[in-house]
Symmetry: none
Subunit: 411 residues, 2 copies
């Protein structure tokens, strides 16, 4: 199946946003056995949009559009598809009802211009979008398939995962393609690449190595005549990868998140958690509370951004004077203070230098993470790319990874 | 001048890398007065590459290619350009010499395969590349201009800055294109679209409306013979937009962030800030501390995820019993507790329902934000899309927006 992506939006051609939708979809297609031949980015211009769609309709079997489904005059994707196929836009009563409901949920009247988003053409069926006011379009004609999805990545990705990808998977094809992603932390991408280099040449299953915000991911993709066979192939390679990397460094698979896994382990063990953060400025607490139901085990957090606060919340000022605010000793004291002051079973303390300026003679990117489970304390140090957001993110992921480690030993 | 970008490389179509070269070049073109109409991504396939080049040569004045200039068999950009123009590839002695020198500098013999990178066609001049073995191509024919640059961003950007951009600047006047983005909060995209709909039809300057995580953005883009004229056109439309939307709802422009603006206002006024968060779980603190130097005004934050913590940190339990944890009264008490307990000038309290489950009979997406500046308290309510991450993000942005409002009145 020959596929083509059309990314729509003048802001892309002005370089104001990078087209991550195209690369996201592109990375999803191989697992569906779909070949991507073209990606085209075009602005909010009806003539050029129709030109791009016509060409795609001629040369491709599957056309995936993102963007241009908003309610304003410069959102022209619906109009362009209708013109390209010579079909007429009609307001769909069900969509109008759904849209009114969407606004009503937030106590708004639907602005008249949103009616635009409730239109369809005869060959189009609406694709649900619970995250926004732009339904997608699923257009089938002349044995071709055209899919239009909204531009905002959170809406597009949800629509892709829950609606589009499953339907594409169901289509009669040659066998099945199944992927499994192993998520690791603590290795550099290149090191992982070297450790599994002998598997990189494998044609089926394939092994891909990707650097992600939460560590290095390894994706095993197997193509087979049936599900069972594909899973068997994946199991075999997974076993080999795990034996190479060591079980402890692989923290999860597929949709797992570190905060989700840590939360599950805390809930299972009936343990509670409290945090005291300096350089991460609350990002660890914010990440922990991304998990629904986290209130069951997350007691609370302190953002001790100044020494004054660290001391007010129980860190011995002599430790700061002696070792500096960015030190293993202070991280440990923060972890203990969080645990005792907030009455939790486990306390986490993070102190470091987010940058751009050095602190206490420590360079940006330095951080100490301590975990106190009441019986013992464990403190690790991290060195991250010295960019402020990067330091905060990496230190947060690192802390969650170490929390998992601690919990593994608290069986 | 109509421009088109062609990004070449199968790894792009496999989603293994995101095409940042295109967005980089796209962001550079407006200041050169060049209109970008198309971006095409194509794999390392001679047939499709020639097809893309032919179409670009027909419809565009300037074609900028990146990638496919390496020494291996799947690097086909030179071959494709030669075929598209019906010209012959010839080894250029000067380039061979330069290449040998390049390798010699690192003590290597030039591998035979690299001779490929020393080829040119009659219409092409080489563009120097001190960072790699792939010289660029500058091709002029039939009044059209085609530029081919290497794919590695560090090589491409250096070539663009030092060689290509200066030469394009020298070309006879195309005028300039300048953009300015106004950032608003508190309106729905469609409402903003309606308020400025009479400006949407303006051809120059143009007005675009975009929904972003931090609110609705309006982008004014003006094309003129010189910088001054363009800025004048933008000023005029900006004045009109501001009078329509009301100054207070426009919180920033261009690269401004709400946390940056709030931080600046706090620093200017010599005021300090403290937070107590429930449903946002620390995201407000984490966002405030994204700003370098925020330790100067951000005293610290409390993540009071349980009623127990809210009470421990100074919220009157009777308020919770009487009004529920998610109520204006509790938000106010949290703001005051944050201010007094953490010894700050201003306290912010946020309580709400992140979901997915309702709380105290309040539906997910409900939140109350209170700001206590020591003299007065102000509490607002918000209703957001009921997805957990969305609720946290929107409530955080809302709180920053209200903080700005408070600070505007604390002159």
């Amino acid at each position: 199946m020959k596929a083509e992506i059309i990314s729509i939006g003048t802001e892309i051609l002005l370089g104001e946003i990078t087209d991550t939708n195209a690369s996201y979809i592109a990375s999803e297609l191989p697992a569906l056995g779909i070949d991507l031949y073209w990606v085209t980015q075009v602005g909010d211009n009806l003539g050029r949009l129709v030109e791009a769609l016509k060409r795609a309709w001629e040369r491709s079997d599957l056309i995936i559009c993102t963007g241009g489904l908003g309610p304003t005059d410069d959102d022209l994707t619906r109009e362009a598809i209708a013109e390209m196929l010579g079909e007429e836009l009609r307001v769909d009563p069900e969509l109008v009802e759904w849209l009114r409901g969407f606004f009503a949920r937030f106590g708004y009247e639907m602005p008249p211009s949103n009616i635009k988003q409730a239109t369809l053409i005869p060959s189009a069926r609406a694709i649900p979008n619970p995250r926004g006011t732009a339904p997608g379009w699923w257009v089938e004609r002349e044995g071709k398939l055209l899919i239009a999805m909204p531009g905002p990545p959170s809406e597009m990705q949800r629509m892709w995962e829950k609606e589009v990808s499953p339907r594409l998977r169901e289509r009669p094809g040659e066998g099945v393609i199944i992927s499994r992603t192993l998520k690791t932390f603590g290795y550099a991408e290149a090191s992982v690449g070297e450790m599994v280099s002998h598997l990189a040449s494998s044609a089926n299953p394939t092994l891909g190595v990707y650097a992600k915000p939460d560590g290095i991911h390894l994706r095993i993709t197997a193509k087979a005549t049936d599900d069972e066979e594909a899973r068997k192939m994946i199991r075999e390679m997974e076993t080999e990868v795990r034996s190479i990397l060591g079980g402890d460094s692989i923290w999860g698979v597929d949709a797992d998140t570190l905060e989700g896994i840590v939360g599950e382990m805390l809930a299972q063990r009936g343990l509670t958690l409290a945090t005291m953060e300096s350089c991460t400025g609350g990002l660890l607490a914010a990440t922990l509370t991304d998990v629904p139901g986290s209130s069951a085990y997350f007691k609370g957090g302190l953002v001790a951004y100044s020494n004054e606060m660290k001391i007010a919340w129980g860190v011995d000022p002599r430790l700061i004077a002696e070792h500096g605010a960015v030190s293993p000793e202070v991280a440990e004291a923060m972890a203990e203070a969080a645990r005792t002051r907030l009455g939790a079973d486990i306390g986490v303390g993070i102190t470091g230098v987010a940058g751009p300026e050095p602190l206490d003679g420590k360079i940006p990117g330095t951080a100490y993470i301590s975990i106190d489970d009441g019986r013992s304390k464990r403190t690790v140090s991290g060195t991250y790319p010295p960019r402020r957001p990067e330091v905060k993110r990496r230190a947060t992921v690192h802390a969650l990874f170490e929390l998992r480690r601690t919990l593994l030993n608290l069986r």
